[in-house]
């Protein structure tokens, strides 16, 4: 890991300081069918290209944030706080 990920709080830091939790997915309602839940827990788009991801600055400020990162070219990414996720270019 040697690309530098941007933490909204701390700026650009070596990616080794961070942990990747998973893709951003919307949690189903309890009333939704079980298929929605298995989709949520197990399935992924796993795209070649940009997706929203959850990252944590584990060896730094320890805050959670969302990164819209190109999975083929990590240097191309945008990091925002959860509250500001609507400012990202696409869903």
């Amino acid at each position: 890991m040697s690309f530098m990920l941007t933490c909204p709080n701390c700026g650009k830091r070596q990616v080794g300081e961070f942990t990747f939790r998973g893709y951003f997915k919307s949690r189903p309602q309890q009333s939704d069918d079980f298929a929605s839940w298995t989709s949520y827990v197990y399935f992924n788009k796993n795209k070649i290209g940009k997706q929203w991801e959850w990252w944590n600055h584990a060896s730094g400020c320890q805050r959670w944030f969302i990164v819209d990162r190109d999975s083929a070219k990590s240097t191309d990414h945008q990091s925002v706080w959860f509250e500001n996720r609507k400012t990202l270019e696409h869903e």
Binding site: Q30, V41, S74, T75
Partner: protein, 961 residues
């Protein structure tokens, strides 16, 4: 024959070294001069055969003296595969050749040279596999014959100290030839912090041995000087600049994402994050393929010039120079000045230009042959004769008896750092070279790496790149004049003969490559893997251009479609020692506040994640009995401890944990599990209501950071108003267990410790020795006991205080292994030990912690699914007969030879006198009294009986009284 020279008429800066000393080579003593590399000293001493090739064991000798190829790999001071042309020689060094027996002079393995060509192309894929028993035998011989140096299994230099260094310059410049130096100057002029990296000991690049006159340079004061003098002047000018750091003898071996440049120097690793990087790594002499192109006595133009100018060596008695540009004439002049008889300059150009260099050679009486090139060399162990002829290898017209052939037929850019796994070079028809033109942001390239050019051109490009790097602006494409082009000869001079080596490292000939293509390996990547071309010590640096051009040609593609195989880091090999640095332990060792107390008490320690914890102080069986019958204390400071409060804390607990807690009164404690969204049990602990609205969650050692992080994620995404305080490092903790624990602690606290006032599963606050403490009456060990949490700065003093106050009982410390035995006697599971990443709470027997009727909590949907499905297996307690041996943790449970479960924890119970444990069994064996077979590792079977209650004190009387 080689000799040292004391002076040179054409090299203004030539100086003879003052000091000399000696080292050994294959046991013989060799003299070296100050400034020598190991290789140059050997060459001066007349060593011609320096290694044997990989497959055929053909003799090999020095070629470019630049650390690229395999010819000069030797074992130095027991370290294998050292590039002897890249390291300075030191007094007393022990140098040995490799991969030849009994010696490189007479290598019996050279029989391969005759045997192997008789075998078909890719023979090892086609032979030795039938009959089946043949391959293991054949493999043993193949493995023995393979390999170059020997790993030093005695580890003689294992204590070598390796260091890691960090740099953060504004501009990093790689390469200190004219382009690199100009870049540095431009960046310094722009006020930037500059780091200059140069692989050689001295700065200056190829200009150090070049005496072309500088003209038309933008730095006017350099015009009229020789290149040698010009770079000297530049170096003198910038060397002492306060904003410049120079790392020489340092090789930048890779560049990674976000412009991380990695470099090695001796035993140091440099990690450099620069804002901008300028690569000016230059070029090496082009590789030419012709018959016997691997013989000792064939050197490149620059390789020869280095020997003459930098090491004061006359490299041969009689030489022939093969060239296609003025550079060859320059080399011929230097050879002549060193005393070598230059028999001819063979120029591939039909009409060489009329200029000072060409005329100068003529004036020396050296014949020039136009429109000709080399066809083959002859000689058994080294060059004895060279034959030349037309450019396409058809007619060999002349031959010369000589001991050195110099190849100066153009340059191939050192593209590795620009390309490295990121982008492929493309053939630039105009410049007749491979180039990398798409570079990432803030990375620039300048100089010969873009195609050969004059000093003035290199300087100009370097200066513009340095300026762009300083400003982080874009760089316009550099131009080339017609007369700056070096026309490329055919990649293979097809002059007949069987020894046209495309890849000298792996002994791959042109005909082998053609056969491979015919067999179907017609894409350069598959061709490489089948033939092994480019997979040797130089990793294709020598041959990548030839491979690309020949592969394109032989598969019917145009030369513009010539694409080399992927270049990858490192540029040159880097040792594990350098990469590891000084601290092999990448995992910190965490200790509790009472650690030295345990050490003093003679505890044996174990690793619990990152923590060092006492395993036991006495034999664990003895210690366990001591707790049951007496009074024990264990350091449990490593537990996770989270304090939760805030307006939404109850909603939060209800959401995060599977149980219900609204009725948990102040002062009460409840056991809880933690479940993931996937319904899997991953943690357990206790939740205590310390005071109104303040809860204390205690979890196992391993997970505490992860759980805090997880909680914060849920707080963020679901907007709970909760305060989370991680008290894990703030509080030390102990567990005092035993019949007399109430009596003991009552003496120390000022609260009522009676069973009525402080019942089982309750918590209280008090002070002990004026230290504020939290007391929890819980029961992991199954004895009356209290977990006491207090500020960790009082860790050691309070621990000693407890032991002191408890001397009369006596209160004795016990360790983690002992605690394991005790909890097993009570059938308590440990998540991650007795459960795994697939265990749900129903099968683990902790369904009482799950209240499914809550409207919304983490894991609800999956738990519903698990509950509906029912369980197939269950985690149960079991006991053995008293005489039975104890199974190892993890062994299988079998029924009629079929695996039906596994043992997760297994110990001898000192209290009960028989073996006990926890195991996963099928549901139909989970009822009390069921019997099942456990197979020990030695094959013996023991019969276990399922228990539906704790083996020890099943009613829990000792706990709750």
């Amino acid at each position: 024959m080689t000799e040292r020279i004391a002076q040179h008429p054409d090299l203004p800066l030539f100086s003879s070294p003052k000091k000399s000393f000696s080292f050994t080579f294959n046991g013989k003593t060799i003299e070296a001069h100050e400034g020598d590399t190991v290789a140059s000293a050997l060459i001066a001493a007349g060593v011609r055969i320096t290694s044997r090739s990989f497959k055929y064991h053909r003799p090999r000798g020095p070629k470019d003296n630049f650390g690229q190829g395999p010819e000069l790999l030797m074992t130095v001071d027991h370290a294998p595969n050292v590039r002897s042309d890249m390291i300075p020689v030191r007094a007393g060094m022990q140098v040995e050749t490799q991969n030849a027996w009994p010696s490189t002079q007479l290598d019996l393995m050279s029989i391969n040279n005759f045997a192997v060509p008789l075998l078909p192309n890719g023979f090892y894929y086609k032979m030795f596999h039938k009959p089946k028993w043949l391959w293991p035998i054949a493999e043993r011989f193949i493995r023995k014959a393979a390999g170059l140096g020997k790993i030093d299994t005695q580890g003689r230099a294992v204590d070598t100290r390796y260091e890691k260094r960090y740099r953060f310059p504004d501009v990093c410049v790689v390469g200190s030839g004219p382009a690199g130096l100009a870049s540095v100057k431009a960046a310094l002029d722009a006020g930037k912090q500059v780091l200059l990296i140069e692989e050689q000991e001295q700065l200056g690049g190829h200009s150090r041995h070049t005496v072309f006159k500088v003209e038309n340079c933008r730095e006017k004061k350099l015009n009229g000087l020789t290149e040698q003098e010009a770079v000297r002047s530049l170096i003198d000018e910038i060397e002492k600049h306060p904003n410049l750091e120079i790392l020489s003898q340092t090789q930048a071996f890779a560049v990674y994402e976000d412009n991380l440049v990695a470099a090695q120097r001796g035993t140091e690793l440099f990690k450099i994050r620069a804002i901008s990087v300028v690569f000016a790594p230059g070029a090496t002499d082009r590789h030419l393929v012709f018959d016997n192109n691997d013989k000792p006595g064939i050197m490149t133009g620059r390789g020869v010039e280095r020997l003459i100018a930098l090491h004061g060596i006359k490299p041969a008695r009689r030489a022939v120079v093969i060239t296609t540009h003025d550079g060859g004439y320059h080399t011929a002049k230097l050879l002549h000045g060193a005393g070598t008889e230059v028999l001819a300059v063979v120029d591939g150009r039909q009409k060489p230009p009329k200029n000072d260099w060409v005329d100068g050679i003529r004036k020396l009486g050296i014949p020039i042959f136009e429109g000709k090139t080399i066809h083959r060399v002859k000689g058994l162990n080294q060059v004895k004769k060279v034959e030349i002829g037309d450019l396409h290898g058809q007619f060999s017209s002349l031959s010369f008896a000589c001991d050195l052939v110099v190849l100066a037929v153009g340059y191939q850019p050192q593209l590795n750092l620009l390309s490295q796994g990121r982008t492929r070079p493309v053939w630039d028809k105009k410049r007749q070279i491979l180039r990398v033109t798409d570079l990432p942001q803030n990375i620039y390239a300048a100089g010969e790496v873009q195609g050969s050019a004059s000093f003035a051109r290199l300087y100009q490009e370097g200066f513009e790149a340095g300026r762009a790097a300083a400003q982080q602006s874009s760089l316009s494409e550099s131009q080339r004049d017609e007369n700056e082009l070096i026309e490329a000869l055919p990649a293979d001079i097809e002059s007949g003969g069987k020894h046209h080596f495309i890849c000298p490292c792996m002994d791959v000939t042109r005909s082998e490559a053609c056969h491979s293509i015919e067999e179907g390996f017609d894409q350069v990547e598959t061709l490489k893997r089948y033939s092994s071309m480019g997979m040797g010590p130089c990793q294709g640096k020598t041959c990548h251009e030839a491979v690309a051009r020949l592969a394109a040609r032989d598969t019917g593609l145009s030369e513009t479609e010539a694409v080399p195989t992927t270049m990858r880091p490192p540029l040159s090999p880097v040792s594990f020692g350098i990469l590891a640095g000084r601290a092999p332990h990448l995992v910190p060792q965490r200790r509790t506040a009472m650690h030295h107390c345990h050490r003093k008490a003679g505890a044996a320690f174990l690793n619990a994640g990152q923590w060092k914890r006492p395993h036991s102080y006495l034999p664990p069986q003895e210690e366990a009995l001591m707790v049951r019958k007496g009074l024990g204390i264990i350091d449990v400071s490593t537990l996770g401890k989270l304090e939760l409060s805030g307006p939404d804390v109850m909603d939060f607990l209800h959401f995060m944990l599977p149980g219900k807690f609204r009725q948990l009164a102040v002062g009460r404690v409840r056991y809880s599990t933690m479940i993931g969204e996937d319904g899997i049990l991953f943690e357990d602990g206790t939740i205590s209501h310390l005071e109104e609205g303040v809860y204390y969650l205690s979890t196992t050692t391993g997970n505490q950071a992860a759980i805090e992080s997880l909680f914060r994620w849920w707080v963020l995404t679901d907007q709970f108003k909760v305060h989370i305080k991680n008290l894990a490092p703030v509080h030390a903790a102990v567990n005092v267990a035993g019949e007399k624990s109430r009596e003991f602690i009552q003496k120390l606290v000022d609260i009522d410790m009676s069973n009525e006032a402080f019942p089982y599963m309750a918590c209280r606050k008090s002070t002990i020795a004026d230290v504020p403490v939290l007391l929890f009456r819980i029961g992991f060990t199954g004895e009356l006991g209290y977990e006491i949490h207090f500020p960790s700065e009082f860790g050691a003093p309070l621990w000693e205080y407890f032991l002191e106050q408890g001397k009369s009982y006596p209160l004795k410390p016990f360790g983690v292994e002992t605690q394991r035995i005790l909890r097993l006697e009570k059938g308590h599971l440990i998540p991650g030990v007795d459960t795994d990443a697939l265990s749900n709470p129903y099968e683990a027997g902790v369904d009482f912690t799950v209240k499914e009727d809550k409207e919304n909590f983490v894991g609800k949907a999956f738990l519903k699914n698990f509950k509906e499905r029912g369980i197939e297996n269950k985690l149960v307690s079991y006991k053995l007969n008293s005489a039975d041996p104890i199974p190892e943790d993890g062994v299988a449970i079998l029924k009629n030879g079929k695996i039906i479960g596994r043992v997760t924890s297994s110990r001898m119970s000192p209290t009960l006198g028989f073996g006990i444990g926890l195991a996963w069994v099928p549901r139909d064996l989970s009822g009390a009294g069921s019997r099942f077979q456990i197979r020990l590792a030695n094959g013996q079977d023991v019969t276990a009986e399922t228990l539906d209650h704790a083996a020890y004190d099943p009613q829990g009387e000792r706990l709750t009284s």
